[in-house]
Symmetry: C2
DNA sequence: TAAAGAAACTTCATATTTCGAATTAATTAT
DNA sequence: ATAATTAATTCGAAATATGAAGTTTCTTTA
């Protein structure tokens, strides 16, 4: 029934709300703004990413991404490395300080989920995973994939591993 | 395995990302800011709600809630009615214009999900719903329940139905 | 191959948002 | 009564967001 889809969406909204509160709480503890934290997470997920991709992932304008990256770079949480194959671009990556900041605060949602998940029977775990992946496939569109699943830049990953002298931008 | 919990969280992040992009898209179409849209949805869910509860639900500071409500009231998307039982507070509710604005734009995620959900077998629907509700219960904490599930104000609902002269605030 | 076109990022000016702290008003507790 | 709480607001500072215009670097194409 239509009814069940609505129930699903309500549950989804509860999850969404929880995630939102979670990111705000984590941001507060780390001393980062919500957007800064989100960008930091995006960078962590991808290990290396360009400003454009950050803008798309975070859902902000390129100009805003520039400002956010600049701020994070000033805090020494991310570093920038000019791309050699396309010198208009550069790669943003987490510094050690950035990693440390990101993990300085526990992630309540993550922990809570993992903890409770571990306690349920195996077949239920499998069911939940299957359902979540199914739902993810239902709602995620190509344009809004998580940076980690976006492969439009992997052609350049080899470059990231190359031993360039790589001065900061 | 620990591994499976991580897979769940990854799927969850894909869903969250999709939802985030979705709310931004809907906001853009309606001409509302993301937060305004979220507040409007919260108000719709509860039919009547106080600024404090909006702040908690939306995850913003009280001062921010005031500003958001003021803006929405200026647009005539919400109305305010002073509470009689506690005259510091007031009730926020959607106007007809607010309802119209909220539904003027289609919700791609909602539609996409409903459409695909309708196509899958009954037992799978049931499985997905069960899984989603389970996950929602895992991650949502009492403090961050969706307004609709928060019953701390129902004692006052009768008041909302009472025939007070109810001038705007 | 030279010029036009497009893309990535920045800068700038401006508008909006957000929040903390202090404030007012109303309620509740002592 | 008086003190302590609570709900909401005001205000000022800082953060964020964006469009438009500009720079540099690719990419096309004539």
């Amino acid at each position: 029934m239509e009814d069940r889809a609505v129930s699903c969406l309500i549950a989804l909204r509860r999850v969404l709300s929880a995630a939102d509160h979670n990111v705000r709480a984590v941001a507060k503890v780390t001393g980062l703004s919500v957007q800064q934290l989100i960008v930091l997470r995006i960078v962590e997920d991808t290990t290396e990413i360009t400003p454009m991709m950050i803008a798309r992932s975070a859902g902000v304008a390129p100009a805003t991404a520039t400002a956010l990256i600049e701020k994070l770079a000033q805090m020494d949480y991310v570093s920038r490395r000019r791309s050699q194959s396309d010198r208009r671009r550069y790669w943003v990556s987490l510094t050690e300080a950035g990693k440390a900041a990101l993990h300085s605060a526990p992630d309540p949602l993550h922990q809570k989920f993992s903890e409770e998940f571990a306690r349920i029977p195996d077949y239920e775990q499998a069911m939940i995973l299957a359902a979540l992946e199914r739902v993810a496939n239902m709602v995620s569109t190509p344009g809004e994939t998580l940076p980690g699943t976006d492969e439009s830049h992997v052609l350049e990953v080899s470059e990231a591993l190359g031993a360039e002298t790589a001065g900061p931008v």
